[in-house]
């Protein structure tokens, strides 16, 4: 038994199953609107943020444009549903989600090839351009017919099993997807692939001397990360019933990066904390703004952004290694033990 638990795969799988069970309990215990407006958005953000965290924190590359990969996932889902898949069973949904992952991963491979040649600010620039440019394709004259222009394509949600309301069911699907992503990335991080990511991150020359193909490792990181983001995007589309350019504005890409930095670069648990923060913080500050009944929409609309900025700035001052780093530090102080190993990254160079 103890031997089995020593296997990462077995342990992660057990934890994932327990996690899914707990999340289901949470979803059924809370009112339905919390499922659709909080749990589900947190879950799809976790998919994208966890992938980004591995890319940035473990493989040492930067992406300011992860929203673009989410958009690819969302549009893949919407287009497949419109043109090739009729019916809305849950099995078909699984197929659609899988297809979204594959297509966005392929797109990630293309971007990854370019990324492997670029470093630091140049890579940041390219991915930033991607996040800015890709969603506007929807409004491009020749494509707007296919992509639905700025109002986007309609996505229909899956039929929920009898007795379970739609909001809860959709949130559960998002949670299962998020747990699968975390499970997958946790295994990857512990595997040879994960070690090669960190080797490339820490010293490219040393890594290539050790026989790793630096470019191949970097492209692989982009592929994995883009696939996860694509899944997140497809779930967002399912939830908001739309795949439209306005859902994938630059602010989304920045929010994802903020989640990753806030949680702790490279840490999957940190990606979860960060996602909770970027989803709930704007909602809380909006509630605060309306509770204070600030009359002017111009002010109350901007309060969430302001609170968001302040919290992030404070978090960076108080915990430069992210929330996860802070928790580890506290745990270390409490137990008086030194950390066993270092999975999360040092701050990146050159960006």
């Amino acid at each position: 038994m103890r031997g089995l638990l020593r296997s990462n795969l077995v342990r992660h799988t057990l934890l994932a199953l327990v996690g899914i069970g707990l999340l289901w309990l949470l979803i059924s215990a809370l009112p339905g609107y919390r499922s659709s407006n909080q749990i589900a958005p947190i879950a799809y953000t976790v998919c994208a943020a966890a992938g980004l965290s591995v890319l940035v924190g473990q493989s040492g590359q930067i992406s300011l444009g992860h929203g673009a990969f989410m958009a690819v996932g969302a549009y893949t889902m919407a287009l497949l549903q419109e043109h090739w898949v009729t019916g809305h069973s849950n099995l078909q949904l699984v197929g659609l989600l899988a297809a979204s992952v594959v297509v966005s991963a392929l797109f990630g491979a293309v971007v990854g090839v370019a990324a492997a040649r670029l470093r630091g600010p140049y890579l940041a620039g390219v991915t930033l351009a991607l996040a800015l440019g890709l969603p506007t394709l929807a409004s491009y004259d020749r494509l707007s017919g296919t992509l639905g222009g700025s109002s986007g394509l309609t996505v229909l949600p899956p039929v929920s099993p009898a007795g379970i309301d739609d909001s809860r069911w959709q949130a559960f699907i998002c949670c299962v997807a998020a747990v699968i992503v975390l499970w997958f990335l946790a295994n990857i991080s512990r595997s040879r692939v994960g070690r090669s990511f960190r080797a490339v991150r820490d010293d490219e020359i040393a890594a290539s001397l050790a026989g790793l193909s630096v470019a191949r490792v970097q492209v692989l990181a982009f592929v994995l990360s883009a696939g996860c983001a694509g899944l997140g995007g497809a779930l967002l589309a399912m939830l908001s019933l739309t795949a439209g350019p306005l859902a994938f504005q630059l602010s989304l890409s920045f929010a994802l990066l903020a989640a990753v930095v806030f949680g702790g670069l490279g840490s999957l648990a940190g990606a979860v904390y960060g996602s909770i923060l970027i989803v709930l913080l704007p909602q809380w500050s909006q509630d605060l703004a309306s509770a204070l009944s600030i009359g002017s929409a111009k002010i109350s609309n901007n309060i969430p952004l302001m609170v968001y900025g302040v919290v992030l700035a404070l978090a960076m001052l108080a915990a430069p290694n992210g929330l996860h780093g802070l928790l580890r530090q506290l745990a270390r102080a409490a137990t008086g033990r030194r950390p066993v190993r270092k999975l999360t990254s040092r701050p990146m160079e050159g960006t």
């Binding site: 407006n37 309609t154 709930l280």
Partner: protein, 439 residues
């Protein structure tokens, strides 16, 4: 290895805590609603009725349209201060969706599932509301008087809980088209429209009346892209004498300014949605100022052909006097422009429906009340409401912008969104009730 486990568990626990914590803080509001009142309907208590809406308080449609919900709210407050409807005050919760369909879905879910509203009222926008109409009907939430003239709201079998309010864009397009056909025979005509069901429904109506041979250009825009250079260039190259525009106010203004820049001055005809004179004048001035130019907004819009379906502020009849009275007390900061009048008129119609839904309104009795027909109120033409027709006002009257108001010409006209003939409506509009509250 154990640390890893701990970390994973900690992440899960925090996720649970985070959501549970906010469950404690505001969970109370979601259960409210059906307490001590005689009615068991959600959102109705003995003394209040809570309704909700999604509105573009920010984003590309905010200029002008962000006034509508404030005006409705002002009118509801006026009603509440004068005894309410059947003794209940109307609480109006309107949330910003930024004219962004993704936001509309989240905000509508919040209103229905968290705020537990009795009905959705006057939710604004074609591309936005299209995404939630299925959801609202599935939840059996009355979806009254959508602030959009899309044909899509009038689909009784698919959306039994949804009702339009303003004339649909095809009706408007037909009447505008017939006027253009008669008064601009043989002229070269260009269409400019928003590339979604708003613009396309309008074009459908125009095409029923204007001969295809006269249409020399068809250009559309996306509300997210404010650069209209290419469209204006093509319309100018086609040498159009008249441009018909189905656009939101900001894009009417950008179109006019782009044409001014190109020294091109065709006659403009604009859908009611995009032609409110005061909004337009401010937008023309504001957008030009941002580009470093000074223009006289009011002068630029003179002579624009448009249409209307509510009393014109230029006429100063009993309805306009009533709205001015309410505005002076509850909405001092805004002038009585088309948007403010729109918001107040829609609020009046809602009050009519709520009154007719009975002493203890239910969601079903509210829907039945609208289907039994409502008096036209501030409208210059009657509503089409019946159990088989969920469209709002059945026609419009052509008008021309003079000064800062739309001056009507001719008589109101009515028609349907199919091949029905355009008829002149001759009956005069009933005056407003003295206290401004529907009886």
């Amino acid at each position: 290895m154990r640390k890893r486990q701990l970390r994973f568990a900690a992440a899960g626990a925090l996720l649970a805590l985070g959501v549970a914590a906010c469950g404690g803080s505001s969970g109370g509001t979601s259960t409210g609603g059906n307490g001590s009142g005689g009615s068991a309907a959600p959102g109705v208590t003995a003394t209040t009725v809570t309704i909700g809406s999604t509105q573009p308080l920010s984003g590309p449609a905010a200029p002008g349209y962000s006034e509508i919900s404030q005006a409705s709210d002002a009118y509801f407050r006026y009603i509440n201060d004068n005894g309410g409807i059947n003794g209940r005050k109307i609480i109006y919760k309107y949330l910003d969706d930024g004219y962004n369909p993704t936001q509309t879905v989240a905000q509508t879910r919040k209103l229905v599932e968290q705020d537990n509203v009795f009905a959705i009222f006057n939710a604004l926008g074609t591309p936005t509301h299209e995404k939630v109409v299925g959801y609202l009907n599935q939840k059996k939430v009355p979806d009254l008087f959508v602030a959009s003239g899309c044909l899509c709201w009038n689909d009784v079998s698919a959306h039994p809980y949804t009702f339009g309010w303003q004339p649909d864009y095809t009706v408007e397009g037909k009447i505008l088209g017939a006027y253009i056909k008669k008064n601009f025979a043989g002229k070269r005509i260009a269409y400019f429209y928003q590339n979604d069901d708003f613009g396309l429904d309008g074009v459908k109506g125009l095409d029923m009346e204007i001969p295809k041979s006269q249409v020399v250009a068809r250009q559309s825009y996306e509300p997210t892209n404010t650069d209209l250079s290419s469209q204006v260039q093509k319309i100018q190259a086609a040498k159009a004498d008249l441009v018909v525009s189905f656009s939101i106010p900001a894009f009417t203004a950008i179109l006019k300014l782009k044409m001014l820049q190109a020294r091109y001055n065709p006659q403009l005809a604009v859908s009611n949605v995009g032609s409110d004179p005061i909004t337009l004048s401010n937008l023309l001035k504001g957008i030009a100022a941002k580009a470093g130019a000074t223009v006289n907004g009011t002068q630029l819009m003179q002579g624009i052909i448009t249409d209307g379906y509510l009393s014109s502020p230029a006429d100063n009849d009993s309805w306009i006097k009533l709205f001015q009275k309410v505005r002076a007390k509850y909405l001092k900061k805004l002038p009585l422009d088309g948007n403010v009048e729109y918001g107040m008129a829609a609020a009046y119609t809602f009050a009519q429906a709520l009154k007719a839904a009975g002493q203890d309104p239910t969601r079903e009795s509210l829907v039945k009340a609208v289907e039994s027909g409502l008096a036209q109120g501030p409208g210059i033409v009657p509503f089409r409401y019946s159990s088989s027709d969920h469209a709002g006002f059945g026609g419009v009257q052509i008008g021309v912008i003079r000064g800062t108001a739309i001056h009507f010409v001719g008589k109101p006209q009515t028609t349907d969104d199919g091949s029905g003939a355009i008829q002149t409506y001759t009956q005069s509009q009933p005056p407003a009730p003295a206290n401004g509250i529907p009886s």
